[in-house]
């Protein structure tokens, strides 16, 4: 910022001024850019289509956001890029399938069961893998490769038990709800509402509760937080409970709106990474907002190009984000 106070030796061009402004107010710049996109889309495709498709995008966005919050929390607090996070989603989806279809119980029980078991999976893995590896001071490559090994184990154990058949939860896929002239499937609406309620709750928890403050302290500096008397192992445990529980929920939601396959989570993982990076790695609020926005933007892309390019669009957004702003839209420009 020091350089900004020096008077420039020459007049800045408008483009340079714009870039400078965008760098100082990245969130505003991103919103402005998004606003322009919306205006152009509305002008060319009509308000109805943009709103209708955007609404559908919200259910996709809720899945991304729930997945991204857990992934980013684990990164922030444990410095672990968990490539197995996508398979946590898959695990949750199959747990809900077990309760909802195999045992024939109501879906709501399936959702709670999925969240509980995925959280338990997270705790179990922390105890047998991540905790011991942290004590040994394992490096980035070691941890990434371990998480990839774990991703393979989870995905293929699921495939071993449930085969590669495509499965569906017992949900209502025909009824739709109308409001303001827009139409949304009943199940999708539930996903959007539950997703946003849970995300707001998580946001408030992180901001205002003691646990949330401790989590943020750990993400700033684990050793320092420990020295300050915070029971770090307890906070780490809660981190896994949140990451696992939210991943389980996201998996069930993905299963409710699409289908269940062993690749379900891994295919979502790169876009969840995109939400994490756009929000600034380690920033839970950022991941949350970026996940929702990504869902909507990716769905909007189907207005312009064929729907089969949807995932590709998500990847391109991730790469562009990494190139022009690796610290994320909301991140401070620290060294990356």
């Amino acid at each position: 910022m020091e350089a900004g106070t020096l008077s420039p030796s020459r007049e800045l061009t408008p483009a340079e001024r714009l870039r400078g402004w965008a760098n100082r107010n990245p969130a505003l710049a991103a919103s402005a850019f998004l606003g322009v996109v919306v205006v152009v889309l509305v002008a060319s495709k009509g308000l109805y289509d943009v709103a209708q498709v955007g609404l559908n995008g919200l259910s996709l966005g809720a899945v991304y956001a729930l997945g991204a919050v857990g992934l980013t929390l684990v990164y922030a607090i444990l410095r672990l890029v968990n490539f197995a996070h996508g398979d946590f989603l898959t695990f949750g989806a199959y747990m809900a399938y077990l309760v909802n279809v195999t045992w024939g119980l109501p879906l709501i029980l399936g959702i709670f069961f999925a969240m509980a078991t995925t959280a338990l999976l997270g705790i179990f893995l922390e105890r047998v893998m991540w905790g011991p590896m942290r004590t040994r001071g394992a490096g980035v490559l070691q941890l990434i490769l371990m998480s990839i090994g774990l991703a393979l184990v989870i995905r293929y154990v699921i495939q071993y038990i449930w085969s590669t058949d495509i499965r569906f939860l017992d949900v209502n896929v025909t009824d739709t709800v109308n409001f303001l002239g827009l139409r949304i499937g009943q199940t999708k609406l539930i996903v959007v509402v539950v997703g946003i309620v849970v995300l707001v709750a998580i946001g408030l928890m992180l901001r205002y509760t003691l646990l949330g403050k401790r989590m943020r302290a750990l993400s700033d500096n684990l050793e320092l937080a420990e020295t300050a008397g915070i029971d770090t192992s307890r906070v780490i445990l809660w981190t896994w409970i949140f990451a696992g529980g939210l991943a389980g929920l996201a998996g069930v939601m993905a299963a409710m709106t699409t289908d269940i396959r062993p690749e379900l989570g891994f295919e979502l993982l790169v876009i969840i990474f995109a939400a994490v990076v756009l929000g600034g790695i380690g920033d839970a609020f950022g991941a949350l907002a970026a996940g929702l926005v990504l869902g909507v933007v990716i769905e909007w892309s189907t207005l312009v190009i064929d729907a089969r390019w949807k995932t590709f669009v998500g990847f391109v957004i991730l790469i562009i984000a990494l190139v022009i702003r690796p610290q994320g839209i909301f991140g401070k420009s620290r060294a990356i």
């Binding site: 490096g139 371990m146 293929y156 990474f273 790695i281 990356i336």
Partner: protein, 332 residues
């Protein structure tokens, strides 16, 4: 033979393990992945950059070769197969620079995410740009030139007294000659001043910069070499299968390469071939264990074992079989 006192839980049919066909296919896969992983060794083992996009390089190389040779799914030939090979390598290097130039400035974990995303973007492009790549149908019909060479080699084998040589045996010979040349070449350049700078960057980037070396430039060169070996591995994969198809370039291919790299050992070029041979012998050999399971379950079981092996290797012997612990890049 006496009756066993219990029902055997599984049995192994040894006939398949002694068949020349089995070992030829294992040998080609092992050779292809040796070439594939040599590039990862250069990046991860010697430069300290965690490249997770090697399957993307392989895809760009294989597809460039196939598209240039056939002219796309409806094309009737564009350029000669042999001419397409160096061009495909150049295209892959250009792609590597395009990915590396912005992303190599990032921290190791960001770079890993960026490269895996780039590789997946390539695969999805290949899946969706149907007019160019044939989509999920893939591309065929690029191998005529190679087939005539293959028949020539078969002729030589017959002259040597092998009356009915395996169809794929010539590919096996060529893939391993290529792998051997690349291994020795990379081992050689590691001892040049250039190679020593790479290791200096791996150990301490700031120190290398203080000595007037530009780390980004060296990292890009290292990535270009990985792109080259990825593309060459892609050629052999395509010739082996006789088609290119997006499913051959899923992230699991890069993960397999990483597994081979760790198995053979970091910072050891000769270990790559050993790791690759061990991996493919075990992985393909597991097919012949006859468990009372469905085919799909056996397929899943193989990947469960790979995953477990990767976890245990990273936990207890991260330097692999022949790696040096003191040369292990821990990333921080």
């Amino acid at each position: 033979m006496t009756e066993l006192p219990f029902d055997p839980l599984f049995a192994v049919t040894f006939e398949s393990l002694t068949s020349i066909g089995f070992w030829t296919s294992v040998g080609i896969l092992a050779g292809t992945f040796t070439i594939f992983t040599l590039g990862l060794q250069m990046n991860v083992g010697y430069t300290g950059i965690i490249n997770f996009g090697q399957a993307g390089f392989m895809a760009v190389g294989a597809y460039s070769m196939a598209i240039l040779t056939t002219g796309g799914p409806d094309g009737d030939g564009l350029i000669n197969f042999w001419l397409s090979l160096p061009l495909a390598v150049l295209i892959t290097i250009a792609f590597g620079l395009l990915v590396g130039l912005p992303s190599l400035r990032l921290r190791a974990d960001y770079f890993a995410i960026a490269t895996i995303a780039a590789a997946e973007a390539v695969r999805l492009f290949a899946l969706n740009a149907r007019d160019l790549t044939g989509g999920n149908q893939g591309l065929i019909g690029f191998g005529d030139e190679w087939d005539s060479v293959s028949r020539t080699i078969e002729g030589w084998l017959q002259d040597l007294g092998w009356s009915d040589p395996e169809t794929l045996f010539p590919l096996l010979i060529v893939v391993w000659i290529t792998a051997a040349i690349l291994t020795v070449a990379l081992r050689f350049i590691q001892d040049t001043p250039w190679g020593r700078v790479l290791r200096a960057i791996r150990e301490d980037e700031d120190a290398a910069r203080a000595l007037g070396k530009n780390p980004l430039s060296y990292k890009l060169q290292s990535l270009s070499i990985a792109g080259t070996t990825g593309a060459i591995a892609g050629f052999f994969l395509a010739l082996n299968l006789n088609f290119v198809n997006p499913t051959e370039f899923e992230p699991i291919v890069t993960f397999t390469g990483m597994g081979i790299l760790i198995l053979g050992g970091l910072a050891n070029y000769y270990g790559v071939a050993v790791g690759s041979l061990i991996f493919w012998t075990l992985f393909e050999g597991l097919r012949f264990i006859e468990l009372p399971l469905e085919e799909q379950q056996v397929a899943a079981l193989r990947f469960i074992i790979v995953g477990l092996a990767l976890i245990l290797l990273m936990a207890f012997r991260p330097q692999g079989l022949f790696g040096k612990r003191e040369e292990m890049v821990l990333g921080e």
